[in-house]
């Protein structure tokens, strides 16, 4: 093994974050380089081609595909209203006349004399791409989108569901160990991003939806509650498009796990500030983790010290870490030794390990692969 991989999630009060905002298909960019934008600003726009409808005209008129064009009233490219005649036959006796009408308003895309089908297309749909974060446009990619930078507090979660949203952060937990109870959520939390402590259960999730919160940030949840929330068992960790009424970010994982105190304290300090959050998670090459971005004002701009230390290095003695696998799952401690030799663990695998001291003073030897550095300071 050449390298021991010690992943880490960033939790930092100040950093510079850049977000590329790209359209799925070519369109127009509506902002300029250097412009300041807020999260709800439309930075680029595209026209999504309309939905296609297929009408089998030859079957409906009882004619042959090669004769189709003779019976068409509308031509390719022509606009058509719902209920308007698309094609009709020409019987000798008027009584036998049949017509085919358009099921939609749109245009005639193709008239096929091979298959006898007519393809109709609905008008294009406008797709607005929002800035998502308050920041400054630092690059315009013509026809595709922009890159936006923001000086912000930045917290990465481990897993999330639901897409991008923004709102005011409201801390309701009094400690990282406290679970979020349904009773803590009130109508005052509508449109807000609510920060809980260790855990959210099914009842609180239902309540969050009912009161209309925009986002929830907690330490953990049970798999069964996620299944109930989504309506299916999530098999592969690609999320961000769920339509569950709010965006959910887990900072620690599955189970009842206290939020890391560093994360908790930072979010507590940001209580009342505007945040942009996303639940999008993709765990594979090109990892995407859920995030909480809290823009800082110009008076809080970065200094050199904030930007240093952002280059990820391996674990060091004294680093705060979180164990991410049984038997110490969820426990937070500090690195006290980094032996370089491979060590045999109870499974008989030979792996690189580190020694950790937990808050209660106890120590444990854990594979480095099972530890996450709590990054940012």
């Amino acid at each position: 093994m050449a390298h021991s991989y010690t992943p880490g999630l960033t939790v930092t009060p100040r950093t510079l974050v850049a977000r590329k905002r790209l359209l799925p298909i070519p369109g127009v960019v509506l902002v300029q380089e250097g412009e300041s934008v807020s999260s709800d600003k439309v930075v680029a726009r595209a026209e999504l081609p309309g939905k296609v409808h297929v009408v089998n005209v030859v079957n409906l008129l009882g004619i042959l595909p090669e004769d189709l064009k003779e019976f068409m009233v509308k031509r390719e490219g022509e606009r058509v209203e719902q209920g308007q005649v698309l094609a009709e036959n020409k019987p000798l006796i008027k009584w036998f006349k049949s017509t085919v009408v358009s099921p939609i308003t749109g245009s005639v895309e193709t008239i096929s004399n091979s298959t006898g089908q007519v393809l109709l297309r609905e008008p294009p749909r406008r797709l607005d791409l929002f800035s998502y974060v308050d920041g400054r446009v630092v690059e315009v990619i013509p026809g595709q989108g922009v890159r936006i930078e923001t000086t912000c507090a930045f917290v990465q979660g481990i897993f999330g569901v639901g897409g991008e949203t923004w709102g005011t952060l409201v801390m309701v937990a009094t400690s990282p160990q406290q679970p979020l109870e349904a009773g803590q959520l009130t109508s005052d939390h509508a449109g807000k991003i609510v920060i809980g402590g260790a855990f959210v259960g099914a009842e609180a999730l239902q309540r969050a939806k009912a009161v209309g919160v925009k986002g929830l940030v907690v330490g953990g949840m049970h798999d069964k509650d996620l299944r109930a929330l989504l309506g299916y068992d999530l098999g592969v960790a690609i999320t961000g498009t769920e339509n569950i009424g709010f965006t959910l970010v887990l900072t620690e994982g599955f189970g009842q796990i206290p939020m890391a105190s560093k994360t908790f304290e930072l979010l507590k300090a940001l209580n009342g500030r505007k945040a942009s959050i996303s639940g999008a998670t993709q765990i594979r090459a090109g990892v995407i983790r859920p995030e909480i971005i809290v823009p800082r004002g110009s008076e809080e701009s970065l200094n050199a010290a904030d930007l240093s230390g952002q280059v990820r290095a391996g674990a060091k003695i004294g680093d705060p870490v979180r164990v991410i696998r049984e038997p110490f799952f969820g426990r937070i401690g500090e690195v006290v030794a980094l032996p370089s030799d491979l060590l045999m663990i109870p499974t008989e695998s030979h792996v690189r390990v580190m020694e950790i001291q937990f808050a209660d003073g106890t120590k444990a030897v854990v594979p480095r692969a099972n530890v996450e550095i709590i990054e940012g300071s």
């Binding site: 798999d223 599955f254 109870p346």
Partner: protein, 601 residues
Amino acid sequence: MTDRPLRTIVATDCGSTTTKAILIEKVGNEYRQTFRGEAPTTVEAPFEDVTRGVLNAISEIEELSGRRILEDEKILTPSGIGGDPKAGVDIYISTSSAGGGLQMMVAGVVQSMTGESAQRCALGAGAIVMDVLASNDGRLPHEKIERIRSLRPDMILLSGGTDGGTVTHVVEMAEYISAAEPRPRLGMSYNLPLIYAGNTDARERIKDILGKKTALTITENLRPTMERENLVPARTKIHDLFLEHVMAQAPGYRRLIEWAGAPIMPTPAAVGLIMETIAKKQGINLIGVDIGGATTDVFSIFQGIFNRTVSANLGMSYSISNVLAESGLENIMRWVPFSIDEQDLRNRIKNKMIRPTTVPQTLEELMIEQAIAREALRLALGHHKTLATGLKGVQQERSISDVFDQKGSGQTLINMLQLDLIVGSGGILSHAPRRVQSMLMMVDAYEPLGFTELSVDSIFMMPHLGVLSTVNEQAAMEVFVHDCMIYLGTCIAPIGQGKQGERCLEYTAALPGGPVQGTLKFGELRLLPLGLNEEAMVQVTPARNVDVGAGRGEAVHRRARGGVVGLMLDGRGRPLNLPSRLEDRVGLLKKWHDTLNLYPT
């Protein structure tokens, strides 16, 4: 094919996460894999240049071997350049699955005929098939169009109709594709590659419909008649377009293509090629499996027919939660000799999904992971069996007995009794702490019948050897046999059921340490010592209702190959049924584990 004379070869596999490099050298008269290095793949930000990871992995080999391979960030060729015997290599070759590999959508007319043929073609070329569209797939036209539009594949393969047959349906599919205006996954500035391999009579219409909207390539019909599949021309085109279009869009690949002395292949295509070469050379039937974090690939060669499937959502980390969803909790827990709270287990599995690089630290966790692997392997083979079939829709001449058998066309080609060798690959199999664990995982999941040899890939160098076989087959074969494959041994598994403790078979084996004989009872597993590079003549006489390959009650006398585990006698019955009562099952599992010395105590 004539082998190119080569003495020193450097090969890389640019995977999604890691780029693995190996050095192969001619040592005496034989090719051997001598050094290896690896580095993180650098296709994505901040590097966005695949060659960076390749250079890093090769420089690790330089450090270990003392051979100078790189100069000014270029690969030095040939070997012995400048008169220095420790400099340069004769050829650099590579495979790639970075950035999610090759993702394709395929379309045919009849789902079980041209749809399946197109699917087999794309899978054999190393692709992940995102969807199979067909005229009769049960979806309404607008649903098909929406699906095509939302997929964003790297490439589309369109087939349909036999040559000279009706053109209407395949033209209809082309119209749907055209209406969807499909966009490629990578980049916005180029047209999506589309291969047409259907009815030759429809070519002009296809050109009219798709010529302007896609980068259209027309090749031979992959199903020219109902009775014949012709997958090679379309497969070759997929490889060409993979290089010209898909790879050329990925950062750094143009330079990588220039460096390579042979076309860069999709990783699974190269693995398939080496498996096919081995089966062909040794005249054997083979099943190969590569169980990764996200996907499980299964390859088979039966009677010379190659098939590959990829179960895109069965894997040990990224897709581990989907194994649970597909197999069900009970099926996983039946392999574990203890009980565990359901909620706790489900949370543990989800935590592995979101933190895929973690490793089991406790024995209990290892057992759970290996139980999940058994289910992933079992499900992936089941999936493979449904696609590795004879051609469907073929008219067959039937005898009276066939009529009574009620066998239709399209039977699976996978016959476990005729299977000679299982090759396992992927972290959970290649890096199991004890080799016997890998062997039992495969035996439990696949339930081999009769005599079957098992092996594992030592360090996942099959992709490198697959691409090497295109330039020097001898080198690829020699390295495969000596350095890649680790023979675990042979499993002898009789077909039949019996009560626990009832006689299953008698055996005698002329082992190198002296002859042994005994009786294997139902419900027993036994391991006989037969080491690596050892063989033994084995005589097996089954009970009256038991079959070891020659028929019920018929004795079998044949040679068995040894390995790092040995000769496994599996009297647990086929099909393998585990007791439903927890206490009985746990007791039996513990007994088997003790017999095989499966886990430390």
